[in-house]
Assembly symmetry: C4
Homo-oligomer: 210 residues x 4
């Protein structure tokens, strides 16, 4: 993958987080990885989104050493790198979106209460104390007392999942207020919805061209 | 009814769901039926709303066999068909709108707490386990762990009712938070409001031209 | 007061309710009174706001007899008339705004929890069973199981108060969630804020020209 | 500092409060101070934001005596002056923003539940009975039964902090609903986040030019 193209994808993913209302102030960042070159492109720290250009993004290696760029990388870079090491993913998105962050602050996993959730997340969205290798089980999670991290095949998909997570977090919030003892979705229905989109037997949407 | 005109009505109803903020991502769909021809027109599965054209819609018979269209129909087609078989309706709208979905996820019917509700829904909006014929009692309902389905004389009216249901769901949510033991609206007032709009003695709004 | 001018004021007040997001569908209406002529101008029933013209409004006498207009008046006309008989007011606004309606549906008065409230409402916003003369104590109230009615010197002021009531209702909602046993504002502070705007010693804002 | 420039900064900070949706009606005001001249510039009382010009702002000395301006100053002027006397700040912003006001009305400090909070506020945002000198401990606070006051190096920064406070108040609200016994952020993490932005060792964002 050409680095310039990855810079543009990562910038676009950062802007998508803003357009979806998932970012407050400068609280959020997206990154992407070129596995061939072993390089990560990430948002610079504390820079306003409306002034950001592709050349402002910071390029690091997988250990976080800066390879290109004159600005400091996002202070969340170590978490992005931990996710890239643990999963075969192409992009990471981190936000402080209101409802998902509320669950992270409450220190409670988001239970799988409906098909909206099950279409994207295979069971509860877990809360981690911090990103220690032994803890990493899914490529989406809530950092206790912090906020969500999501990932996907590309920076664009990671930003998309960050959006859906916020919607799911908001619905789960209202669901537990209406019925505090609400039971999670039956395993069978959870699997049906997750696997129709993500498994080898996926059938939702239109057939992929082969 | 001409099929082309029904296609345009169904597309417009799908777009109305989006304009009202009732649809997240591609989570929602509207359909319409031509009783004369025995044909149902429905949104294709997983296609973005802003790119959808009338010719992208899928035409099926009442058993779900595809009659026209190269795209897969919405995966919610069986529920639409069950509603068309059970009621003398012309359109169905399904959304994952935030508050109505929260009630569906909580597995609780939306109680009739006020005249806003009673103007449209004759008592609680029920929760169904799934759409088995024996369960179908109203032409609006919440699927447990899933989301609402609404119907009307036309696709446009079904989309309109999906909007009002979301508003009513949001108000009921806040009402039970303020007063968890809140009593439902008195039967007399519920009937007065429902029947002034829906019964043979309806008087709300302007007189229909005869 | 010229009737044509009152028609325009009432239309404008109805549109202001829509612009402030206080009206869902056609659930809301504003009216005005000309005391000299003994005439009330009110929104017609069930007519969409974006198509409404001054000549669509309905003119009635204080007993609700239609004096001008070919459309049916709002079905809430009797409540408007009861308020005009009870108070020296010039306009009434009725909405189904989300938070105020939730309090009405919960059957609980909105407690006076802060200065935002006290600047406009002198103590709790009461809930009435229905508008019987013996019950009428303030010119703003919540109809149990229905929604709020507000009034003011003019249709414009009534619409303004309907807006503030919704904001106050929303804040009170969140306040009792945070602290369910929250105490009302001290009487002294409540009076200071209400009287600085409404009493003979009012000092808030700029001096009125004399 | 030139007084005309301060007038423009204060007007801009007042308009920023409106743009961020923090002000309802005329409930809010920002001010700035010129320490060299001992003069405070503040919003006039009860004047609509969309008509306000720099020359409408009121200039007072540190004791609240009007030095320039024909309009009355905001009725919150005494609180602004108390903050200027207590802290080395350049601007104050006061709003009735929905969530922060709900905490003030509930009479509960906003607990520090996450890093979003800790990046701006060093521990709970306190509730004060009223601004007595002995009580003043931070340059941001909630007035019991009233609403928040924030300050910063400049009017613009005070307005910015008023915005973040509202976001933090909203997240904390949802967090305690999800988990009413939620524990505050660990002191160490709170300090790390606050001090990376505010202490002498601050490292968040880009290096300041020297």
């Amino acid at each position: 993958m050409r680095l310039q193209s990855l810079r543009e994808e990562v910038l676009e993913a950062n802007l998508e987080l803003v357009r979806r209302g998932l970012v407050i102030d400068t609280f959020g960042n997206a990154s992407g990885i070129s596995r061939e070159e072993g390089l990560v492109v990430i948002k610079p720290s504390g820079v306003a989104y409306d002034r950001m250009r592709p050349e402002d993004l910071v390029v690091t290696d997988i250990d976080g050493n800066i390879v290109e760029g004159t600005l400091r990388p996002s202070s969340d870079l170590p978490t992005h790198l931990a996710l890239y090491r643990a999963f075969a993913i192409g992009g990471v998105a981190h936000t402080h979106s209101r409802s998902a962050t509320a669950w992270a602050q409450a220190g409670r996993p988001i239970p799988c209460l409906g098909t909206t959730h099950a279409d994207y997340f295979h069971g509860p969205v877990p809360v981690t104390a911090c990103l220690q290798p032994a803890e990493i089980k899914t490529n989406y999670e809530l950092n206790t007392g912090h906020a969500p991290f999501c990932s996907g095949r590309s920076p664009a998909q990671a930003a998309h999942i960050a959006w859906i997570l916020e919607e799911v977090a908001q619905m789960a919030y209202a669901s537990i207020v209406i019925n505090s003892g609400v039971a999670p979705l039956a395993d069978e229905l959870r699997d049906k919805h997750f696997l129709r989109k993500h498994g080898p037997e996926a059938y939702y949407g239109q057939k992929k061209r082969s």
